[in-house]
Amino acid sequence: MSVILRGEHLVRGFGEGELRTLALRDVSIELEAGQVTVLMGPSGSGKSTLLAILAGLLRPDSGEVESMGQSIVGMNDAERENFRRKYCGFVFQGYNLFPALTAQQQVEIVLRWGEGASAKEATAKAIETLTVLGLGEKRHLRPWQLSGGEKQRVAVARALVKRPALLFADEPTAALDWEHGEQVVQLLKRGAADDKATVLIVSHDPRVTGLADRVLFLADGKISTDHHVVDGALEHREPAKEAVR
């Protein structure tokens, strides 16, 4: 499979002077198209920082990120914004849905504001995506009328509606019971399979690993292990030293 996202020698710290802590210490990583990768590790291990840098939300202090054949570290804000609009979908831990908008409008707004899509086109795509995610009947409901699992599925629909090549999810199951959490990961996985998208999920839930193609463990700002998932079981890929490829 082809490498679609590559991070090399990524270093990122927070704070200044004596208070400065390194969240990432020389991390290198390659992600392949159509693969679901789960990034695991304890709190403070640098998982979310790595995701943010790979997704173009945060700049590393040093290192390089090549995504979709482009170097995103050197891009200015507008270029990174444009890159994310073109290629990236996100699901966050919180649902972060606008209280005033229906499920359909939450999804439409991404196309209307982002792509400048017409109302008709945005509506058709939103309905299609929500229907695929089993929310066709509930598309006129507002967040307060939806369960936690349904809200997260709306958030997934918002991420998937523009069929991104790169899908990033930060703790997408954290606020859900396992039944709903599994559903959400399956939906991300299906999105990846349908569109050959590269999916990176940050999670501390070990049950998610069974649904992934690959599992990386991060500890103290470094990748410690790299596993393939075969029949739901982790299979060692190669020992991680400084970089995992």
Binding site: E81, F98, A100, I109
Partner: protein, 371 residues
């Protein structure tokens, strides 16, 4: 715009403060200006009630109640102008009226021609009243000034410049800003104002063709011994003179700025808080590559909706207050320019408030969602 409207509808309680702030600003400005213009508008009552198209005064007379004596034989110049259909004289000046109880009141004596062709301010006088004014020292007052002059009945006398004058009737809508109007004949007015028979305060003219008024004004203005004004222009010049002279314009400007500042700060805070409440949702959209510029449009759309709703609320309130102040006997006007001006100003204020609230978008950082 739809998302802005939906957001406001969903959280009406939050936005109502901003809407009411816009309403407050609009009502304050419209009523202040309306009341002041109504009050100042009284200055040009003689112009309003006269048929004259052109008013000629002593050079550089700033307002229609501040005329100075000028030769009335200059009327011949008007009569000889080919575009002028009629010319007339008008006498006016300040004098004290001593009431029967010995009280002194500053008044404005208006001496008008009494015939049907008169160009003086006689519109509020009946033919019978004009006939009565032909008696020497007969005067007519506005009924609302009668009490002030201790002359509530026909036949009551007062004294001006040591001469007895007798009230022969009452009229309405003939009140001045500086003091009660005493309407009388030109000969009586000259006696009361100690003016010579060959003097008048204003010369008035009516044009054959109203479309020629500006041309006639320009033509007559070539003579520098007088100043020529069209009636319309002299009316607004008189009003603006008093707005400036009384410093009412400053008070008005201050009230308007205060109203706008209060409205702007409340609206801005409302929008700021509303954006603050949606910051995580907006951050997700930023992560998805939606530009900050699009969010700026969203905020400005919200401020426009708040402004429009606030203005719509202001309309019935302003008209209710207008009816109230008019029923209390206060003059208040609400011309179209005031309505559109207030609307534009407050809407602009709402949008500026939106711009101020944009600082809240600085907090919209997608990376924050990952912490």
């Amino acid at each position: 715009m739809m998302y802005a409207i939906l957001t406001i509808l969903n959280d009406k309680k939050r936005y109502i403060a901003g809407m009411l702030a816009v309403t407050f600003s609009a009502v304050l400005i419209a009523m202040q200006v309306g009341l002041l213009m109504g009050l100042i508008g009284v200055v040009s009552v003689p112009i309003v009630h006269s048929k004259a198209d052109i008013w000629i005064s002593f050079p550089d007379t700033p307002a229609c109640d501040l005329g100075r004596p000028m030769p009335n034989y200059w009327l011949d110049r008007l009569w000889s102008h080919p575009d002028i259909a009629a010319a007339d004289e008008f006498v006016q000046g300040f004098r004290y009226w001593q009431t029967e109880k010995g009280k002194n009141e500053l008044c404005v004596v208006l001496g008008v021609s009494l015939d049907d062709e008169s160009l003086g301010p006689i519109a509020r006088l009946t033919p019978e009243q004009r006939s009565r004014l032909t008696e020497p020292n007969a005067v007519i007052l506005d009924a609302k000034d009668a009490g002030r002059l201790d002359a509530t009945q026909i036949g009551v006398e007062g004294e001006i410049t040591g001469q007895r004058v007798r009230v022969v009737g009452f009229t309405d809508q003939m009140r001045g800003i500086t003091g009660p109007f005493i309407v009388t004949s030109i000969p009586t007015a000259r006696r009361l104002l100690l003016m010579r028979d060959d003097q008048a305060t204003f010369l008035l003219a009516k044009c054959k063709d109203p479309a020629r008024i500006p041309a006639v004004v320009a033509d007559l203005s070539s003579w520098d011994k007088w100043t020529v004004h069209s009636a319309k222009e002299f009316s607004s010049q008189s009003e603006w003179h008093w707005i400036g002279k009384t410093k009412a314009g400053i008070a008005l400007g201050f009230a308007a700025v205060l109203g706008l500042a209060i409205g702007c700060s409340i609206t801005s805070q409302t929008l700021y808080a509303a954006i603050g409440a949606s910051i995580r949702e907006l951050a997700v959209l930023r992560a998805l590559g939606i530009s900050r510029g699009r969010m700026v449009i969203f905020v400005l759309q919200q401020s426009m909706v708040v402004g429009i709703v606030g203005l719509l609320l202001a309309i019935p309130i302003t008209y209710g207050l207008l009816t109230l102040v008019r029923s209390l006997g206060t003059q208040a006007v609400m011309p179209i320019w005031l309505i559109t001006g207030t609307g534009s100003l407050t809407l602009a204020m709402a949008i500026i408030a939106g711009l101020f609230s944009l600082r809240s978008l600085k907090g919209v950082e997608p990376a924050e969602l990952l912490r």
